[in-house]
């Protein structure tokens, strides 16, 4: 027997009893399902998802099954479960279900159809906004955490200045100067890209001065963003820009990435110091592979948690904007604008307020409970000892 083999046989446990191996998923589910509120949240989350997709299918198209924008003035403000007065309606106007399941609004539109359509719009607003903020957060946080200690050299700053200056000049009409600067900047960029480290070191030392670190740059950017009162900023921008559903998504996304950036950075900073990352680096694994294969899977859990809760707060923000008159403009129905339209008739037609209000409450609550449940399972510190 070779020494190698004898060593291996020695290391083999005889028939040591091992705990039945559970996959990460099973273990996760085992812990998660103990939190009944979180499970309820997840179920509602799933139902909401199905409703939203179903709503999209049923209410869109040229001839939707349920038309959310069909006005029947003769049938306005009917309470839920009213039978339509078929005599006064033309054949195409009759509700598909034979009844106004959730009543009609001040224009006689079917609230049920509007809620279905709104579910999809609200969901999109939430997902897109959070998607934007999570992408920015992961990108900036990842760079700050992984490359943060690198310094920005003076020539980098000059280069940025040249390129921006060139672009501005072209924008204000000084084409010659602007394009000159742009060409020079791009040439220098290409030079930096293709030259070896040694050639770059041969540049005059005065422009190689190290200014500040990438981490400083990104974290100061976060500080700057945190100085703005968020809701006020969103309101200002949404009010100044032309009313559009996309502007709202983008603005909410662009003003809420700071939290994600901060903790992705913190996570990366601590992961960087872990032995498995050091081991990967020692094996010569490339930076990108380390980031995406080794570090990202460890950082993704908290990002998911904050994304879940972020969707909830994006839906609430949209509702708040709607209330102030800057929400998603018609013809899109969202739960926010159904609610804010309905509050004008709160005593005459309370269902117009209560149905969307309670719907938002339940969905946001579900997202929050689900997110907190995830957090509790994923964070070993919060588990019961």
């Amino acid at each position: 027997m070779t020494p190698q083999a004898s060593y291996q046989s020695e290391a083999q446990p005889l028939d040591a009893p091992l705990a039945p191996q559970k996959s990460r998923w099973e273990e996760f589910w085992l812990l998660f399902k103990r939190n009944r509120l979180a499970v309820a949240g997840m179920v509602i989350f799933a139902l909401f998802f199905i409703t939203a997709i179903g709503g999209l299918l049923l209410t869109s198209g040229v001839d939707p099954v349920l038309d959310p924008s069909l006005v029947r003035l003769q049938e306005k403000m009917q309470p839920p479960l009213t039978q339509p007065n078929l005599d006064s309606l033309s054949p195409g106007q009759a509700p598909y279900l034979g009844t106004y399941l959730l009543g009609t609004d001040e224009l006689g539109r079917d609230v049920f159809a509007r809620m279905l359509q709104g579910a999809w719009v609200s969901l999109t607003v939430g997902f897109v906004a959070v998607g934007i903020s999570v992408l920015i957060g992961i990108f900036l946080g990842g760079i700050a955490g992984y490359y943060g200690q690198n310094h920005i050299r003076l020539d980098h700053l000059l280069l940025t200045g040249t390129l921006i200056g060139g672009a501005v000049m072209i924008a204000v009409g000084r084409i010659t100067w602007g394009s000159g600067l742009l060409v020079f900047g791009s040439a220098y960029l290409l030079f930096l890209f293709f030259q070896s480290q040694r050639q770059i070191e041969s540049l005059p030392p005065s422009i190689q001065i190290r200014t500040f670190t990438i981490d400083t740059l990104i974290m100061r950017l976060v500080d700057i963003m945190l100085c703005f009162p968020t809701f006020f900023l969103i309101l200002t921008v949404v009010a100044l820009l032309p009313a559009s559903i996309y502007n709202i998504m983008v603005v909410i996304g662009l003003t809420s990435w700071m939290g994600t950036t901060r903790f992705v950075r913190a996570e990366f900073l601590s992961l960087r110091e872990q032995d498995f990352v050091a081991a990967a680096r020692a094996l010569g694994v490339g930076d990108l592979r380390i980031i995406f294969r080794h570090m990202m899977p460890n950082a993704v859990a908290p990002v998911l948690v904050s994304a879940t809760i972020g969707i909830a707060s994006a839906i609430l923000t949209e509702a708040g904007l709607s209330f102030l008159g800057f929400g998603v403009p018609p013809p899109h129905a969202t739960w926010g604008n159904i609610l804010s339209d309905g509050q004008n008739y709160i005593f005459d037609a309370p269902w117009l307020t209560f149905i969307p209000g309670i719907a938002i409450l339940i969905v946001v609550l579900a997202f929050n409970l689900f997110g907190e449940g995830l957090r509790e399972v994923l964070n070993p510190k919060l588990r019961e000892r």
């Binding site: 020695e10 446990p13 040591a16 009893p17 000892r385």
Partner: protein
């Protein structure tokens, strides 16, 4: 009952409810005695239930998820388990004190050490603030901290690891307890500091006439401090006896394994022995003798029947009937 026995743990069972609802049997029928002014060591690998059994003496098992399922803990003839919280508070820190493993995290970072030591004196002894202060200085000097009076105003983070553990010991001694439980007090310290702390324990024990329950996984420490030794494996005691008996004539295969995995000078150049496998998950213990999957002497009965304690005389007991019969047959 022997008047000389200070603490007697009798068939203690502590289970923890896991996430899946299964009980994890951390301590599964453990019995041991500690006589007055004696040092007893509880030895075993990490995860074998040493700490849990010690924490249950003071009633410090977090419940839930922990649960003391059965047994008795007789301290000075009185069962501690049925006591109310207030009654336990009069015993904790006063008659039974504890020194923990990590002196850094075991001291409250926002209080001065003088206040932390004085706290237990204030609670258990009716003496005025000035006397408390004098007592604190006395204690710090006893445990070998220089310029004790100034140190009273230090915060834990301003002390070194060894000094912090000395403060923990001073805190434990503050009310002259009859029993001090030391849970791996030197594990987190440098080797040189370890030796100092062990020596300090010896000196203080003689000075204060107290019994010490010393929990450790380090057989070197055991040989240095213990009068008697209990060896634990997977929630049960597998061997017990005088220190000399355990070290010279270990009878349980686990104890033998532990001892032969110690590096000694005579074994230079040889590969160090290690016990194959690892401690079983306390929620999924093997049937029969818990050690059988790792045991080189295991026979069919070991897989079927829970082993009984076998008496080797003079208080030396081991839980391995197989080796016991083998020995008697050859003899």
């Amino acid at each position: 009952m022997n008047k000389n026995i200070l603490l007697s743990v009798d068939d203690l069972k502590v289970y923890f409810r896991g996430a899946d609802g299964r009980a994890s049997k951390a301590v599964d029928g453990v019995s041991y005695d500690i006589r007055r002014e004696e040092t007893v060591c509880l030895v075993g690998e990490s995860g074998c239930g040493k700490t849990v059994s010690a924490l249950s003496i003071l009633g410090l098992i977090p419940q839930p998820p922990g649960e003391i399922v059965g047994g008795r803990i007789l301290f000075d003839g009185r069962d501690l388990l049925p006591l109310t919280d207030e009654e336990m508070q009069r015993i904790r820190g006063n008659r039974v004190a504890m020194v923990f493993q990590e002196p850094l995290t075991s001291l409250n970072p926002v209080f001065k050490i003088g206040d932390q030591i004085a706290e237990s004196i204030r609670i258990h002894r009716k003496i005025d603030a000035d006397a408390q202060r004098q007592r604190c200085i006395q204690l710090l000097e006893d445990v070998g901290i220089a310029s004790a009076e100034e140190r009273l105003n230090a915060y834990p983070h301003q002390l070194s690891g060894g000094q912090r553990q000395r403060v923990m010991i001073a805190m434990a001694l503050s009310c002259n307890p009859e029993l001090v439980i030391a849970d791996e007090p030197t594990t987190a310290l440098d080797v040189t500091v370890q030796a100092q702390i062990l020596k300090l324990f010896k000196v203080l024990q003689q000075k204060h006439n107290m019994a010490v329950l010393y929990i450790t996984h380090d057989l070197g420490v055991v040989s240095a401090v213990a009068d008697r030794v209990y060896v634990m494996y997977a929630g049960i005691i597998v061997e017990q006896g005088q220190t000399a008996q355990i070290f010279r004539e270990p009878q349980h295969p686990y104890t033998r394994g532990l001892l032969s995995s110690l590096p000694t000078r005579s074994k230079r150049g040889q590969r160090l022995y290690s016990i194959a496998g690892s401690v079983p998950d306390p929620a999924h213990k093997p049937v029969g003798c818990p050690f059988h999957p790792r045991c080189p002497h295991a026979v069919q009965t070991c897989r079927e029947r829970f082993p009984k304690m076998c008496d080797y005389g003079k208080g030396h007991l081991a839980r391995c009937p197989v080796l016991y019969t083998n020995r008697n047959e050859t003899a």
